[in-house]
Symmetry: C2
DNA sequence: CTGAAAGCGCTTACAG
DNA sequence: CTGAAAGCGCTTACAG
């Protein structure tokens, strides 16, 4: 009794239009190869039947899914959410759909997810940063999966990457901090293991210290996962050390937000008693009291460009053009000149 | 000269193991139907060849993609990013992959994206809120796509939804505000058109006013897209009105953050000169100065449960069980009792 | 428990 | 410009 409304197939359209399935397929995929008269006839049949191509069959025959996979640490960090949003919009504009996975910063999980997305037929992959096992790169190469990295840029790296130089960017900020008279610098760093961005940022500070004839070994560093509460905790821990630093440079804005919160809770005034800096320039940075001095990174732009380039790679129009984006220092109220 | 390393197929495995393709397929999909001896033999061949099933072929033959589509307004709002992250994790744990699209709060785009995801073979769909054209619901029903709504809960609605009651939640907060002595209440609302959550929140305040014998028509309301700068702008506009409100209730935390920023810029003290409230309880809320009084919503929990239920629907174990989650009022420093 | 074989719904050389 | 037909790589009744 139930009306079994079968979904129409290419065959149904062909029959209705009085042509072969090949012609229908052409009308849909390369209309310029079909004469107008035939095309109108076919398109009418498509309309009438409400035909939409069967995804599986199409994938199987065409060996393409028009699907791009992205594997990021987490969507909960605003920088990835924002970049991914732009990435998705751009993909959509180009007829691709986004498949998303996250790793919670766990490298083993990333490898597993890469395989899963490839198995799901992702035409191309977006990964974050450089640091990963050579086996994974080998697998990607062997399977010939176009892969683009983002959120980092290492001059001379052999993987195509669209991003900025984390190390130089943080070095620039640290130089600024030093130029403002700070000599007792402490750092709250993200976990460096398996995270080239976190490592680059730490190295950038060290570079600046060396450049200014200061001793990097004397700088207190606390390493902790990116998280507001961890930032707060680390800040307090730093204060328990010997000399109180005049500035605490944080590996990202989230850690900095935590540090600022704890400072307030402890009755320590930022920036009068101590300065604090961040990295990323997420929306939070401008809203904190005092507003946060940080490094601005064009996340949206990065996402957009990565999508455009990855699509080019998938369509064999590019082998992966690395691109370096500029970051810039945002001087705000949380950093004060030492008299 | 190039070594054409063809990807191994089921056939290769069958040949190597000396069995039929049917048996290999069974080993992979319902191993209990194959005797141990055969299975080991087959699994060895699978290992040796490094076989992975071809996605397209599998989808076509099995008519399933193990892919779930989600269409949200934007990943840039922390509430969706957070809920989606949990949603994705839970899907992953259950062997599904997430396909993501966003609409930038544009209903026409949503309809288009629904069709695109269905065409891509999504086994099920997650959508936000109730408000959409009946045609779209009809399409989903006709295509028999399991669809779950989230981020809202309307008692008695005929679409399965996992979320909370936006209207009652905001009403509760407004009642609290009134109980603290506020009589001059103003609101900065999100765009209500096509957004049942925004509308529910506005109605909730109106409900509370009526409940307390106050006149809703006297409440100044500014409607503006969810965005920090818009929140700031709207706040300033409200001050230009006749009597200055004693409290500004905002449709979400993002608008509230903007309002607080502008208050500071104008030299208006929160909460001494004016109180401000939000909705959502994103991380920002605890970090703002002063910390923001808002409505806490269990976004992560919501994402997790939505994933679990949607998978059940896709696997025909449920027809969609609506579920109401609790929200709670977070009293913080931005709201002050009127003497 | 296992196999032979049909069928899933497309795309694409190859002819004409 | 169009068609007949093979082929993509699986799954799954149906037998045995």
């Amino acid at each position: 009794m139930s009306s079994v409304r079968t979904v129409p197939t290419l065959d149904d359209v062909a029959r209705k239009a009085g042509v072969s399935t090949a012609t229908v397929s052409r009308c849909l995929n390369s209309p310029e190869r079909v004469v107008e008269r035939t095309r109108t006839k076919v398109m009418r049949a498509v309309e009438d039947l409400g035909y939409t191509p069967n995804f599986g069959a199409k994938v199987m025959a065409a060996k393409r899914t028009f699907t791009i996979g992205a594997i990021i640490p987490t969507m909960e960090n605003a920088i990835f959410a924002r970049g991914l949003q732009a990435f998705q919009e751009e993909l959509h504009a180009r007829g691709y759909t986004l498949l998303v996975s996250s790793t919670s910063y766990r490298p083993e999980i990333e490898a597993e997810q890469v395989r899963a997305l490839v198995a799901r037929g992702a035409d191309g992959l977006l990964l974050i940063g450089y640091a990963r096992h050579p086996d994974l790169y080998r697998y990607l190469r062997q399977r010939e999966i176009p892969t683009l990295l983002a959120w980092a840029f290492l001059p001379g790296a052999d993987q195509p990457c669209i991003g900025f130089d984390n190390r130089r960017s943080m070095q620039a900020l640290a130089n600024k901090v030093i130029a403002m008279g700070h000599r007792d610098i402490a750092m709250i760093s993200g976990i460096v293991e398996g995270n080239d961005r976190a490592e680059g940022r730490r190295q950038g500070i060290i570079d600046a210290l060396l450049e200014n004839g200061m001793d990097p070994a004397a700088m207190p560093i606390i390493e902790t996962p990116y998280d507001i509460d961890n930032g707060a905790e680390a800040f307090e821990q730093l204060l328990r050390g010997g000399t109180r630093p005049t500035v605490v440079m944080c590996g990202n804005d989230v850690l900095a937000a935590g540090a600022m919160r704890r400072a307030r809770e402890l009755g320590i005034s930022v920036p009068d008693d101590i300065s604090i800096t961040g990295f990323d320039d997420i929306e939070l940075a401008r809203i904190l009291t005092p507003s946060l001095t940080t490094v601005h990174v064009p996340h949206r732009e990065m996402g957009r460009r990565a999508a455009a380039e990855l699509v080019r790679m998938v369509e064999h129009e590019s082998k992966g053009q690395p691109e370096q984006l500029d970051s810039s220092i945002m001087l705000r109220d949380s950093l004060k000149r030492i008299p």
